[in-house]
């Protein structure tokens, strides 16, 4: 049970290769780090796995999650959560409603759902934030809310796109350990791209460096 990338090659349409034959295997509960300076196509790699690759790219290779071929599926069917460096909380919804938007509808009944969301807010240190306007949150609070929204949708794997690089140094450590421990707890594979070596060290998983080709 894991996220497997097999000989992934991404190139610009009629253009240069960004990623050439990358293979990696992310185990359950592992945070796999892809390192590299900006411009090496790290985010493009995550777009490919998440299903958001722009039409300007060609993608070859194979991605499977729990033995299921992902590349034939649209993003919403892949069951993969994404955490961006500056996560968007939908501005027309309150913080709690953003989480409710993420929460799978398997959980039914308004009170039951509300209990679940309050629990998640509490875990993220956002007690009593249900009715808050997302625009009033700090960067760290926003990342935590976005993570909870993603986790409530019960993804089978998680992609982290430089998730801590926009945060202030003093809170980066705290948010990082919160995100990582949440992933360990759910025991799902996570693929992180970053250019910060301390992220890779903290993730304690395997890592690979990609360079400009």
């Amino acid at each position: 049970m894991s996220l497997i990338l097999e000989k992934i090659t991404i190139s610009l349409k009629r253009g240069k290769k960004l990623i050439d034959g990358l293979s990696l295997n992310v185990a359950k509960g592992e945070i796999f780090t892809v390192m590299g300076p900006s411009g090496t196509g790290k985010s493009t790699l995550l777009d490919a796995v998440g299903g958001n690759l722009s039409e300007n790219f060609d993608l070859n290779g194979e991605v499977t999650l729990n033995n299921q071929d992902l590349l034939v599926l649209p993003p919403e069917k892949r069951n993969i959560g994404i955490l961006y460096q500056d996560a968007i909380l939908f501005p027309h919804l309150s913080v709690g409603e953003n989480l409710a938007f993420g929460l799978k509808d398997k959980k039914q009944g308004r009170t039951m759902r509300r209990v679940e969301i309050d629990k998640a807010l509490c875990q993220a240190g956002l007690d009593g934030f249900y009715d808050r306007d997302p625009a009033t949150l700090s960067g760290g609070q926003r990342s935590r809310a976005a993570l909870m929204r993603t986790l409530l949708s019960q993804p089978a794997a998680l992609l982290l796109d430089e998730p801590f690089s926009k945060l202030d140094l003093d809170m980066r450590e705290e948010i990082r350990s919160f995100v990582f421990s949440s992933i360990y707890k759910r025991n799902i594979p996570a693929l992180m791209v970053t250019h910060d070596p301390t992220d890779a060290a903290a993730a304690k998983g395997s890592s690979v460096s990609i360079q400009t080709i």
């Binding site: 649209p74 919403e76 961006y84 939908f90 027309h92 938007f101 929460l103 509808d105 949708s153």
Partner: protein
């Protein structure tokens, strides 16, 4: 600094007086007409109370009901179709070919679309010719397809004309939010594109779309030019009923018509209130619905169909315009032929010379109005202070008020005021009344480009010793030529389409292509109607084409100044 502030206030007061003054005067004159009745009329034995007279006008209740029905239904359908159409944007981007169709319908005058639709849908129109040639019924069916008593054909006409406007507005609003990022986040949570559109994108752009929707609502509830051609006839919708009363040779209709004009204004305001309450209701329950987290597949199935349907409606509109064009060249085209038997330029040679004066009037009024609007708008922006909160929201809204007030509600009253001051039936009065409708669009189109001129340009110029006026003339205006041309094209297309302002303020002495088309629409030969409407549609199209190509030509070596491709 003080001088700049004062001139700013003067310009704002001047512009607001020009734009809002006529509305206040016209509405006030209505009240005067209702209550200030001359005793001489009472002697003739008329009811003293014009409100009572209004209430016993035959067909008033039906007129109000069809007005509400056509206006509300047309707006609702236009809105749904426009949003459905724009979802294609998320799937694959919009192809230029489809945009061309939208621009074509957007710029075509309302009455031209309406006439085109009669060519298409009337019992002896193209659709029934097609049926007749396929089967074997011999004469046109004896039914009300156009001018049906329920106003269905009016709804079709309004939708075909207003949906492109809303599509245009939605497309422009969509660039204001990070659509791709929103989509990535929402799809990763398990929502398909159609669900993302309705749950994430639409609620975010709604605040930008709301006012244009109200403009569409106001127009659909109170327009005259489409209702005259396509709407029910006996009784017609309220606006047309009132126009007949105002124009009646029997002056005793004047006071009840003025009361009716106020009724029309109140009707529109009441529907605004209902829509506002409806919006709050949808907002409340919509949020609850979003919080349920359902990822239903229903929208993914419905939306592509709806998008196709709205595309078909737009194609239908274009085909209607095309039929006008064909009729203008048809010399023999008898029922039930699907194609004209013979075609020639004979119609144009015969009718065009008589139409030249109308065309000239239309162009003269449109260009004078547009030029005045551009000068006023530039004066406004030139004296604008950047950090002014009132400038931000309130004043731009005030400028758009004419778009929300029914024309029939105040224009006749305004003409009465003008007659008293000796300006009645003058070019000046007609141009002023057109300005109310042209200025808001010119202002909106110019506002953003003007405000986004790089402030360093002005600073560099000042450092070189160039004064503000020279800066305006030799820097800002040349830089903004593409936007000014775009604003001109829109201004011209708005002015060309005006009917009631020309009719009432011109006092019957000033005729344009629009007033001529409507005069001819009461049963004139289709060939001459084809010629007039084609001519009328050509003017805004040429203006749009000029706005598109001229900047490309004059700035072909300046990649920083790109034309209206944006």
């Amino acid at each position: 600094m003080r001088v700049a502030l004062n001139s700013g206030i003067v310009v704002r007061i001047l512009v607001l007086t020009i734009i809002l003054g006529p509305i206040v005067l016209g509405l006030f004159q209505n009240v005067v007409s209702i209550f200030g009745q001359k005793p001489s009329l009472e002697i003739v034995g008329l009811s003293a109370n014009p409100l009572n007279t209004l209430l016993i006008v035959p067909g008033l209740v039906t007129a109000v009901i069809t007005t509400l029905f056509t206006g509300i239904v047309a707006t609702a359908i236009s809105l749904v179709l426009a949003f459905s159409f724009c979802i294609i944007f998320l799937y694959k981007g919009v192809k230029p070919r489809k945009l061309a169709i939208i621009t074509m319908l957007l710029s075509a005058p309302h009455v031209v679309v309406a006439i085109g639709l009669t060519f298409l849908m009337a019992p002896s129109g193209w659709v029934f010719r097609l049926f007749a040639s396929l089967s074997d019924f011999e004469s046109p069916p004896d039914i009300f397809i156009v001018n049906d008593p329920f106003g269905v054909s009016l709804v079709v006409g309004l939708v075909i004309k207003e949906a492109p406007f809303l599509i245009f507005v939605i497309m422009a609003s969509i660039t204001q939010i990070p659509v791709q990022r929103n989509l990535c986040e929402a799809r990763a949570l398990g929502y398909d594109l159609a669900n993302c559109w309705i749950r994430v994108i639409v609620p975010q752009i709604w605040p930008l779309v709301r006012l244009p929707v109200f403009v569409v609502l106001a127009y659909s509830l109170a327009n005259v030019e489409m209702a005259v051609v396509l709407g029910p006839t006996n009784p017609p919708v309220l606006s047309v009923l009132l126009m007949r009363m105002f124009l009646s040779p029997d002056v005793t209709f004047l006071a009840p018509a003025s009361a009716g004009a106020l009724l029309q204004v109140l009707l529109v305001l009441a529907v605004f209130l209902i829509f506002y309450l409806l919006e709050m209701w949808i907002r409340f329950f919509g949020k609850m619905w979003l919080c349920l987290g359902t990822r239903s597949a229903i929208f993914r199935i419905i939306f592509p169909w709806m998008a196709q349907f709205s595309f078909c409606m737009l194609l239908l509109g274009c085909f209607a315009l095309f039929l006008s064009f064909v009729w203008s060249f048809a010399s023999h085209w008898r029922w039930p032929s699907v194609f004209p038997e013979t075609m020639s330029t004979q119609n144009w040679i015969r009718f065009a010379p008589d139409l030249i004066p109308f065309l000239g009037n239309s162009i003269f009024i449109a260009s004078s109005t547009t030029l005045s609007a551009i000068i006023l708008a530039i004066a406004w922006f030139q004296t604008e202070k950047r950090d002014d909160a009132v400038n931000g929201k309130l004043l731009p809204f005030a400028i758009c008020i004419p778009l929300f007030i029914p024309q029939i509600g105040f224009l006749f009253g305004l003409n009465t005021v003008f007659l008293k001051t000796g300006l009645g039936g003058s070019w000046f009065a007609v141009i002023w009344s057109h300005l109310l409708y042209v200025f808001p669009y010119v202002f909106i189109v110019l506002a953003n480009p003007w405000r986004s001129i790089d402030p360093r340009i002005a600073k560099s110029a000042s450092a070189l010793g160039v004064g503000p006026f020279k800066q305006l003339l030799f820097l800002k205006i040349p830089i903004l030529i593409p936007s000014i041309l775009a604003a001109s094209a829109i201004g011209i297309s708005v002015s060309i389409a005006q009917f009631l302002p020309t009719l009432f303020l011109g006092g019957g002495r000033i005729s344009t292509l629009t007033t001529e088309v409507i005069a001819l629409s009461y049963g004139a030969d289709r060939r001459i109607l084809g010629v007039v409407t084609t001519l009328q549609a050509l003017v805004p199209w040429i203006a749009y084409a000029a706005a598109f190509f001229i900047p490309r030509y004059i700035y072909k070596n300046r990649s920083g100044l790109g034309g209206i491709s944006s």
